[in-house]
C-alpha cells in the first residue's frame, strides 16, 4: 500500500487533480480556454492559439494589478478575480500555489466553475 506523507506528493496530486478538473471544464460550452501557471511550469489550452500571447499578458496583468489594488485598499490576499468585457469574461484565482485564469463567454456561470475548482 502506498502511503503519502510528503507535502510535495500532496501538492503534485492536488495539481494533477486540478488539471483533470480543467480538462472537464475546458469541454464545457462557452469555455474559451485556460492558462495555469505554476512556479516552475505553465500549461495553456486555448481554442484560438493566435490569442495565446495576448491572453497570457492579460492573465499576468490581472494578478499584478489585483495585488496592487488589494494592497492599496488593505483587502488582504487576493482570492478570486473576475474581469468582464462585452462578450467575454476571465475568472482568475490562486490554487495550490498556481495562478489559474479561465477565459469564457459571458453567458457561462463562473460561480459554478469557481465552486468546482475550490
Amino acid at each position: 500500500m502506498l502511503v503519502k506523507n510528503s507535502e510535495t506528493d500532496d501538492t503534485e496530486n492536488d495539481v494533477e487533480e486540478l488539471q483533470e478538473k480543467l480538462q472537464d471544464i475546458k469541454d464545457q460550452e462557452g469555455i474559451i480556454g485556460y492558462i495555469l501557471r505554476g512556479p516552475k511550469s505553465a500549461s495553456i489550452d486555448l481554442k484560438d492559439p493566435t490569442k495565446i500571447i495576448d491572453y497570457a499578458i492579460l492573465s499576468s496583468a490581472v494578478f499584478d494589478v489585483s495585488q496592487n489594488m488589494t494592497e492599496a485598499l488593505q483587502m488582504g490576499e487576493v482570492d478570486t478575480i473576475l474581469v468582464e468585457s462585452e462578450e467575454t469574461k476571465l475568472l482568475s484565482m490562486n490554487i495550490n500555489n498556481h495562478r489559474l485564469s479561465i477565459f469564457m463567454e459571458k453567458s457561462v456561470n463562473h460561480d459554478k466553475i469557481y465552486k468546482n475548482l475550490k
Binding site: N68, M69, L73, D79, K89
Partner: protein
Amino acid sequence: MNRDPYAIALNNALTEIKKAYPDIKNSFIFTKNGTIITGDQETDEKTMNNILESFQTMKEKAKAIGNLKSFHITGKNGKLTLSKIKDMYLVLATSKNADKTQIYSITHVIIPTILKTLETFAPTHLQSPSTKKLVVDTLTGFFAGDSVQIDTEILRDWTKNNDPRARLNDALTGEQDMQESIDHVRIETSGGNSTLCKVKEINDQNLKGKNMIRIPEKLCKTLEINKGDLVKVKPLL
C-alpha cells in the same frame, strides 16, 4: 478633484449611498480618460490614484477580450468592484460579506439613475480639468512634421465648456456656446521644460485611447524627454 456642481452632486450621492450601505468602505468615480471626478472622505487621493493607475494598465491589456465593462476582486478581507457606467468608472470597496444584490443595485440602478438625472439638468458631460498627464510617444520619419498628436476624445473634452456657471446657465437656458477648436497646446515636462506647439488628432488607429501624446522626435530632444515619459499638457483656448 473636480468641484463643479455635477461632481458635488455625485459626491453627495456617494456619501448617502455609503450611509445606506455600511458595507461600503471606499467609493470613487473617475472618467474613462483617467480623471478622478469625486470620492468619499475616507479614501485619500493617493489611494485613488494608485487604483486608477493600476486600472489603466489593466484596461489596456484587457482589450484582448474586448472593452472592459467590470472588474471584481475578492480578497481575504473585502471585495472590490469596478464598473463602467456610461463614460465613467465607479469603484466600490466593500466588506467581504457585502450583499451581491446591493452592489448590483448600486452599480446598475442607483448610480446610472443619478447620472441620467444629472444629465437631464446639465446636458453637457463632466468637466475635466484642462491639464492632462499624457505618456510620450515619439513621432519619427519624414512626415513627423512639427505638430504633436493627441487623442480626439481629449481634444473634444477640452473644447467642452469648462466654466461650471456657464454650463449651468446653458442647461437652464437651453443655449450652448459655440465651441472653439484647439489648435495649440502647452507641454510641460517634469524637468521643467515647456513649449507651445500645434496639435492634431492621433491618426494611427492602434494608438488611439492610450492616454498618449505623440511628439516629433526633434521636439522630444528639445524638451529633453523620451518615449514613455509623462508630460503635462494643457490646451491653449
